[in-house]
């Protein structure tokens, strides 16, 4: 029993345990939220709000109050804080700064490509792939194939420029 408790808070859990727990949470979220777990839609709302403040976006469709009462915000906030909590309970919390310059560019370029791709394909790995397929949408399956192809190209680029 004590061993089980330590396995729980210290981890790492086997991948399949993670899959089962994530599936359970994913299904509960669909029921509670009446729409599936998604990440990018909310990030877009924040991007529009922040872009409006900086002056990149002209039309500001969202107010801060609206975003603070949107369920997507709390899912994303929950993911960040939950992961932080998870590292703290295992005494593994630390700040992990970028230690090599190449990763600044890699992260920025990767982030831009990912955001652009997710937006024009209507979803990321969660909303488009996992929950697209779970919603039995054909788009989800096609998106999954495209992501696999993209990963192949990305891995080639990574081996060529970053290793």
């Amino acid at each position: 029993m004590k061993m089980l408790w330590k396995d729980f808070y210290h981890g790492p859990w086997p991948y399949w345990v993670g899959a089962v727990v994530l599936a359970f949470l994913n299904i509960i979220i669909l029921y509670v939220r009446q729409s599936p777990w998604g990440v990018t839609a909310n990030i877009e709302e924040w991007a529009i709000l922040l872009g409006g403040k900086v002056g990149i976006v002209s039309e500001s469709q969202f107010t801060l109050t609206e975003l603070m009462s949107s369920s997507g915000t709390y899912l994303n906030l929950g993911v960040v804080l939950g992961a932080l909590w998870s590292t703290l309970v295992a005494s593994q919390g630390r700040f992990r700064p970028i230690r090599q310059k190449k990763f600044v560019f890699s992260a920025l370029i990767g982030g831009i490509l990912m955001g652009y791709g997710a937006r024009i394909a209507y979803g990321c790995n969660i909303g488009g792939l996992l929950n697209g397929i779970a919603s039995s949408s054909l788009t989800g399956w096609i998106f999954a194939g495209a992501v696999l192809l993209g990963t192949y190209i990305g891995t080639k680029i990574l081996i060529r420029f970053l290793v």
């Binding site: 899959a19 929950g78 993911v79 394909a121 790995n125 039995s136 993209g150 990305g154």
Partner: protein, 205 residues
């Protein structure tokens, strides 16, 4: 030496408890969603779950442990979504599933997304999870994400105008729920077998 971070943990737990209580005062549903989101982040970190790894590792080491875990996650979600869909029909709950439009942009976007997530070291949920873990790199990736999403939004009209777009296809509308679920689970089972075979092939070398 590994020093216990119990003090940090207690302080953070208290903060999370207070945040939860505050949210409960505002809106019960939001508070519940926050708890579920926290559970997602906790599980993602504890199980080192990573969608990038699921796609990428088979190409590098041939190990498909995470790939098969993702297939399991998708399979269980299909079953669960089917059940929730049925319940919502009976209880007249309005449910909006992720049936997105289909177009050339789905493929182009998927490929760009795939390249991006390898370079950024995490997909969108992975970036959020790693920000929680304290990675500076993924904080930069989030800035990139915000820029990319805005750029994608403004070029949506171009993709629609140039290549066209069709309404999303909801497979159960053609096959019915039960055959769809059986078909999809068989397909996933086949992919699971393929992934398992792939790993054994690479380990045999």
């Amino acid at each position: 030496m590994v020093k216990s971070q119990r003090k940090w943990n207690i302080a953070f737990s208290a903060f999370m408890g207070m945040l939860f209580l505050t949210l409960m005062q505002v809106n019960l549903k939001i508070a519940l969603i926050f708890v579920l989101g926290t559970g997602l982040g906790f599980t993602l970190q504890k199980s080192r779950f990573c969608f990038v790894s699921a796609f990428r590792d088979p190409m590098i080491t041939g190990i498909t442990e995470i790939t098969r875990a993702v297939i399991l996650l998708i399979g269980l979600s299909i079953l669960g979504f089917g059940v929730v869909y049925q319940i919502s029909e009976w209880t007249h709950l309005s449910l909006s599933l992720n049936i997105f439009p289909l177009g050339f942009s789905t493929i182009a976007g998927g490929v760009l997304f795939g390249v991006g997530m390898v370079l950024a070291g995490g997909c969108v949920s992975g970036v959020l999870m790693r920000i929680g873990e304290g990675f500076g790199m993924q904080m930069v990736a989030l800035v990139g994400l915000l820029i990319g999403v805005l750029a994608g939004k403004s070029s949506l009209a171009f993709w629609r105008g140039t290549f066209g777009e069709w309404p999303g296809i909801f497979i159960p509308a053609f096959l019915g729920w039960i055959p769809t679920i059986i078909f999809e689970l068989l397909l996933l089972g086949g992919l699971w077998k393929l992934a398992y075979w792939w790993q054994n092939k690479h380990l045999g070398e």
